[in-house]
Structures are given as C-alpha cells and as structure tokens.
Subunit: 282 residues, 4 copies
C-alpha cells in the first residue's frame, strides 16, 4: 500500500498536489464536492508545502492504473504531470500500456519533448499533446489523453457535449472539438509532432478539455487528480448524452455549471475510491 | 458474516426492520414479491419487536456496500435510516465513499442535522436531503440518494418515467422531478441546506421517490431494504426506458402498478442476494 | 466438479438429457450447432438410456447458477425440468434466489403444484407457469422464466422480436406476447394461480417461448440445456434488436430460421462453457 | 508465463510473427501505432527469422483466450493461422469453445480441410471460412470468425460500417457484407462446405474483413496479432456506430483511414495488454 505523504499544502491553481495529499487537504478545507466548511480534526499539515518527487511519481503511476481501470484508456492513452520544481519539464511514462506503468517507467521531458536525463527509451509519439499544452497553459499541471469510445463518438456527431449533471460542471458551455484535417489535411490523426500539438493547444485554448474528431479527447487540470477526475466525468457525461438517444436534454445552465464545478474541485473522494479499486486488484 | 437478529416481527409502515429480519418475517408471512400465504415452518418471532441498534447499523453499513456494488452510488450518494427509538433522529455515514463505510463511521443526527453525540467529523453536505424528508414524512424510515447515470438522464429529458414492469410498480403513475432552479435560481445543484431540503421534500410529497434534474434522484421506504430495493429498481426501470430508445412503451396501468407494488414490498429476496454478492467480494 | 453421467442416449423430443450428457451425445451424433456428422472416437453409450435422478437434479442446480451468471435471472426467475419417469411431475427449486439453489432445495411437484413428497417449504408463487405448460405440452421437458431487462422491454414496445442471427433461429417468425390484462384485467402481473398459468400456456401454444408484457418472458425446451440455451439467446437477440435502435433489421427468413434452429439443437457447447464459468467462480 | 521467442525479424506481408515477437520487432522498428522511429536499446534479433512452431501454436492458443476475453467470440467463433513453412496448410483448434483451447487441441489442415496428420477429432464445420480464404489470399496469414453482437447487428441494418476513429482505420471505405442467401438461397447460415467458403472469400475479395448477414463477421491479417487486433477494433467500431444511434457520423476520410491503418499495423501494444489480462485470470 502506498504511504500517503502528509506534508501537503493548499490547493488551487498555484501549486498542485498528489491525489492523496489533496484528499487530506480537501478534508481540512472542505474542498470536496460538497463545499462543507466544517472543521475536521486531523493532523494539520503546512499549507503549500511541495510534495516530494517520489510521491508525485507514485500518484502518476496510480493515475495510469486508475485510468485503465475506469475505461478512460486501454492500450492507448496517457497521463502526464508538470514538474512542480521546473515548469518547463513534465513527467510521463515511456511508451507502455498504462496498466504496466511503474515508477521506473516515468521519464522527464522538456517542452521540446527531449528527455531531461538522456533517457533513450521509446516514448509516446503523441507526447506533443502534453508538451505543447504545458507550453501555453501555465495553469495546467496535468493532462490526460483518452480514447474512451463514447468520447470518440461525441467528437464525430456534430452535437455539442454539455453538462448533463453537476459532476460534468467543468464542461461548462461545451468543449471545443479539434479536427486535425482543418490545419493538416489528410493525416493518420495522430498528434505526433510539435506543430500538431500547437494546433491542438490552440483549439483547447483556456478550456478544461477538448474532443478530437476521429480520435478521442483530452482533459487538463490543476493536478493529476483533477485531470483524471475530469477525464472520467467527461466519459460518463458523454455516455449520458448518448443514452438520451437524440432527445433534447435539459443540460446545466452556464451559471449552474460554473457553480457546480467550483464545488467539484479536484474530485478527492473519487480519486480515493478509484485508487482503492485498483489496489484491490493487485 | 453478520449474525442475523432473529428478534424481529412483522413489517409494514409502523415499525421497520433490518433486511435480514424482514426476510425472515417475509418468509413467515409470505410477504415476498409473490404474496404466497403458505405457512412456513420456521422459528416464530414476536411481531414488531424492535431490532437492536447494532443490527440496524450493520444493515446500514451493508446497504452502503450494496448500493455501491449495484451501481446506485459511486463515490457519491448516500443512504440513511431513521432511529426507531427516536423518530427525530436518523443514522447516516459521515462524509465517506459508501464502499468504505463501517459501523464506526455512522453518525446520529437530529432533524437539524446536528450530531446527537457531539461528533465533529465531516458530514455529507447533502444531509438535508435526509433530515427534511424525515421531518415531513413520518412513514419514511430510510432514504437513498443516487447519481446512477440512467436516473440522471431521466431527470433531464422531459419524459415521465413510468413502470415498464412489475418490479417498478412503486413508480406508479410517475415520479416527480425536482428542479432546484425553480425555487433557488442558479445554484451548484446541491441540497446543501435546510431550505433546499424542504423544497425537495415538498416536491417529493407522498411519493416513493423523485428525480432531481441535473443531479440524480432519491427513493424512500419503510426500511433500509425498501429504500435500497426501490433505488435499484428505479435504476433498472430507467435503463429499460432508455433502451426502448424513444419508442412508445406499454407501461403498467396505474392499477397494475399499485397491485404489483403491493406484492413487491421490501424486496427481501433481492436484499439477500445483493448482500451475498458484496460479502463474497470481501 | 460434477461427474458426467455417461449413460446417455439420443436426443430429440422423445426423451431428454442432462446438459453434459447431451454434449457427449451431440459429439457422438454431430448434433452441435454445426451439424458435423464426423465420427468422434469416444466411449459409446447406449442410446436413450435414461440418466439418473441425481445427475438430472445436479443439472437443474447448475442451470439455476448459469441463468444467474448469464443475467437471465436475478433474484427472480426460475427453471424447472419434467420428471423423466413420471411426466405428471416436475422438479423446481423451492422459493429461493437462483444462485443459492443446491440439490436439497429441489422439490417435486405434480401438475397441480402439490409437492409430491409432502414438502412444506415455501414455493415460487409463479410455479403455475411451469405446471400448466407441462400439462398441455408433452414435448416440453424444461422451462425457464426470465426477467432479463431487454426481454422485458421487447414485451412492451409492440414490435415483433425476430431472429437477428442464426443463434436466435428458434424465434422463427416471432414469439407470442402474453398480456395478462386481456383475460384477467388489472392484476399484479404474476402468474400465481392455475387459471393464469393456463392462459399463458394457451398464448405460448406450440412455440419455443413467449414474451410477457410488463413482466419478462419464458422459454421451453427438450431439456434443461435446451430451455436454458434458448433463454440466453432470447436475451441476446432482444439486445441486438434494441441496439439497432429502431432501424429496419434484415432478420432471418422463416426458412433460414428453421434451418438454423435445426443446427443449433440444445446448445451443447454453450452449456459446457457457461457451466465452466460458474464453476470457476465457486 | 510464455517464453517469448526472440528469434524474430521484421514484419510485413512477407513473413509473419507471433504477437510477442512482433511486439519486440515493433519496438525495434517503431512499428507501433505511433510510427516512432526512435531507436530502442534491446537485444537485436535477426530480421525475418521464422519463429518456431511451438511459439506459433502458443500464440494461437493465446489468441483463442484473448478473443473470448475480449467478447469477440463466445462459445462460437474461431481463429486460425497459416503454416509459415507450408502455405497450403493452416492451424486451427479442433471443435472446442475457445476458452478451452490448449496446444494439444490444435490440428493442422490442408486447404481441403483434411487433417494433415490423420487427426480424427471433430472439427469446426465452418473451417471452410479459413481454408477458402487462405486459398485465394496469399497475403493472409491469420483469420478470425466472430459472432460479436454489435458486429452481427451491423450486418443486418443496411448501413455501411465506416471507421469512426483511427483504430478502425483498416475498415477504410467500408467492409463488404456477405449474404449467403444470394448464392445459396435458404440455408442454416453456416459456411459448412467449400462452395460456401469460396463464395465468402469472393465477397471478402482483397479487404481486411467482411460482415456476414445474420451471422457475424470475419477479419484477416498478416499475423495472429493482426487478425485478432482487427477483430477487436471491428467490434469497438461497430459499437460506436450503434451508440451514435442513427445520427450522421463524421467518419474518417479514405486517406485518413489509409494513413491511420499504416500507423496501426499489428496492434502490438494491444496484444500484450490483452495477453496480460487473460494470463491474470488463470
């Protein structure tokens, strides 16, 4: 069982936290879906103390397993996290199916996707999804790339994906759809170089995620827990949209979505549950 | 394995019973789905003898696990039971994902959601769903709050959810849909204070459940087993409605629904099966 | 592991066989889906030797577990088999969820549903589904009653369920739908007495199964394996129909269905697979 | 755990490789979905060295288990591989549900489906699907026959199945649908002799797969890994098509599909993941 790092600070767009750390902080500050505000008698930890690299990478490994268990990724798809001590670097697994990822598989890349430590192992060709978004989005600390079927479908039917319920609040007034053909003509659909990554980042703009026509989607967040939570609820929200079978859905009003998102920061209770589920299967 | 409390009586809207007790009583009285009436030679137990607090809380814990296993709740959602010895109190878990709940996590609240025993642990912000319904519905002994996707969808497409089959009989001529916007304008969709709880209870009226637009739903019952059974069949019935894909469904006539419900009181066989399934996974 | 009874005969509408026995016979005679005809060098067994009561009841127990594992039944639903030595009796579990059934739970009833051996244990109130079909269908040796959701839905949308593929061949030109309201007005939908059983049997006529509006369905067969196989493929075929979402389906022509069914007698390979799957979970 | 045969070469349409061998080669050559090209420091192996019969049959066994685990086959369906040392022979299991297949169950047949070694065990009646395609398609090294429900449905609704996303690139501009009635009138739908096999092969032409109306489908490939990967993505792509519920789908342009397919040769990462999943269940 992973040992939770209790030296964990605040949360928000300034620093970022591991899932388990944030859960604790969430408990401290009431930063759960339910914006409690009630005090919680647990051991206090200093606010905004950076977590260790070791626990960060442990959370990245867990994220890979959670995403596979939750059906967000399968043999394809990936998750990364920005290096908290050097914003021009990020961590991601080497080329490997997510369920296999262990801490020794994590590589550190710069924003040109060059391995920082001379690592020569094979990398995901779509690493430019990550580098180019980190380049232009200083607020983003973690990114998930998904091939979940319902997310793929939503990128192809020309209907906006809107929040069906409060857990999808971050979807707001909709997510942009990146269509690689617009800028690059006929391709194999992959974001396998810097120009394509830049184009995707441009489509993403300041939004929490984007659909990718004929490919899948991405979500971004303040932390691993945040991007992972958003990717799961993106998938669930897409499923709900398709279950409605073309009927008109009374989706959240923009202000409801905004308020709901504010109450769902980071999804700590989900992370904890999903982590338990993957650990039970080891 | 839980030890069944055999000191358990009849059933009905006056007292209430743990799932396992009710099963036995159901066997005694033929109060199964199938309104048998045949005598069953088992040890007699006194009618309406209250069960112990210990077995009640054990059933509440089991209910949490069943609901998670059945997909009625995930990281979110909750179940409560009214205190049989003090109708102004109810039991619910502290703020925790349902699969983690153990007897020591159960707190006792009054109808203002104040912990009875000075418990200072964090609570569900939506505890007012429970308190305000117990306040105005003396017949209700247990409440389940769900985010099951098909139930969420049914609350957004403007079509009445009617009983597709006899196990959904309690749905009767339909369930009310609570839309928080009508009374509270733009919110984060959560029932996180007494006024919102009262509004939901008002929409619920005397019905067995309600949908909550953009959020999920609730079911109520005579007992834990009753509210839990209803929540599962609400989900299944919603799935069936959506599987029909917009076609006209020949749903139960109101009288059929009423008669079917009378035969499905408490769902004892289901509870037993679902409990076995969660215990097998421990 | 169950010991296969090798004293097993032919197959067809005259006698009937346990699943495993039939598999062997199927291998002998090529009576598989694939109408092989190739000789199989296994130990020969005498044709039409009746199996033992012990192996028959073991197969009935296995059928209960298979049906629950395959989603044909849940807490509700049941399977029975006619007594090969007395056609006016049949075997069925006492009132119990199918996953719990063991050989000692099997009761023997006559066609008035009176226990043959003075058994006083509680019975399924819908046992008249079985008795009344056995009464008028001498060819039927086993019956399954299902609440599978897609089967329920197909009984309510007014579209004929036709064979989408060859494994559904037995559906032929469609199955009748029993609507209890036509003969009995408003009821709780249950077949809980002889008149209702007779009405259902009348609707079933000489067909391999029937839908029951607002309730579920039934399948019948030459053997346990046959009725069980048909119930699973009824469910799958209903799923396919609903997946097509209202589009026109090019279903099997009546002659194709007839020929396909002839090649799928008894589903021996399926029974064996499904039995392996339930045994692996014990 | 299977011992990987490292004596493995390049890939392409000339020779063919076991799944694990190809993975390694894929790593060597960057022949993954993501067309990497980066060097990978692993033990070099000679290009195009044929693997052993033992490892080939081990991969065929694994393929059977993967296909059952992935829902491509159930009690029915099969996979074969051409003999790399004699193109007029192929390997396939004897008549057996795929989950049971072990190396000793593999038989070697010639293109008239005659067992090469005098094996007298019962065979799949649809072995002519395999023999007749091998006969006219020298490029094909492996074939999968599926009854996956969504694939069955796609063969009956008269809508072309097109690639919804890049993993379905091999579908190209669509797959042919074989309707047995056109050449053979009313049948039991089975490809149970050489003429029917030849007709199916004629419909397949030079395509990577075909749908079979009222029956299921087939995929072919350069290797076991290739045909298996295609069968899984055929199923997923069919699911996506049906999830779109009749809406217009912006499918891949023909050139996008072609380019995407070039990048997805052989699906090595998938094979490895699926193999891990079946081995974990043993």
């Amino acid at each position: 069982m992973e040992k939770n790092n209790l030296r964990v600070p605040g949360f928000g767009r300034r620093g970022f936290l591991s899932g388990s750390s944030l859960l604790l902080t969430g408990a401290l500050l009431g930063a759960s879906e339910e914006m409690e505000g009630e005090p919680e008698p647990v051991a206090a930890t200093p606010q905004d103390a950076p977590q260790t690299k070791e626990t960060l990478l442990a959370d990245l490994v867990t994220a890979n397993h959670i995403l596979q268990d939750q059906g967000v990724v399968d043999g394809y798809g990936h998750v990364s996290v920005r290096n908290p001590t050097n914003p021009n670097h990020f961590y991601i697994s080497r080329w490997l199916a997510p369920d296999l990822v262990t801490p020794s598989d994590i590589v550190e890349l710069d924003l040109d996707c060059v391995p920082v430590n001379g690592d020569t192992r094979k990398l995901y060709s779509e690493r430019w999804i990550h580098s180019e978004i980190y380049r232009v989005r200083p607020d983003v600390k973690s990114i998930v790339h998904t091939h979940a079927p319902t997310v793929v479908v939503m990128g192809t039917i020309g209907e906006p994906l809107l929040p069906v319920y409060h857990m999808g609040g971050f979807i707001g007034t909709g997510l942009p759809t990146f269509d690689i053909r617009k800028s690059f003509g006929m391709t194999n659909m992959l974001i396998n170089d810097a120009p394509k990554g830049k184009a995707l980042a441009q489509t993403l703009a300041d939004r929490p995620g984007a659909l990718m026509r004929g490919h899948g989607g991405i979500t971004v967040g303040n932390s691993i827990m945040h991007s992972v939570g958003r990717s799961v609820y993106l998938k669930i929200n897409a499923e709900m949209h398709l279950q409605a079978g073309g009927r008109k859905i009374e989706t959240l009003a923009p202000e409801e979505a905004r308020l709901a998102e504010a109450g769902n920061q980071e999804f700590p209770k989900d992370w904890d549950l999903w982590k338990r589920q993957v650990m039970a299967k080891k």
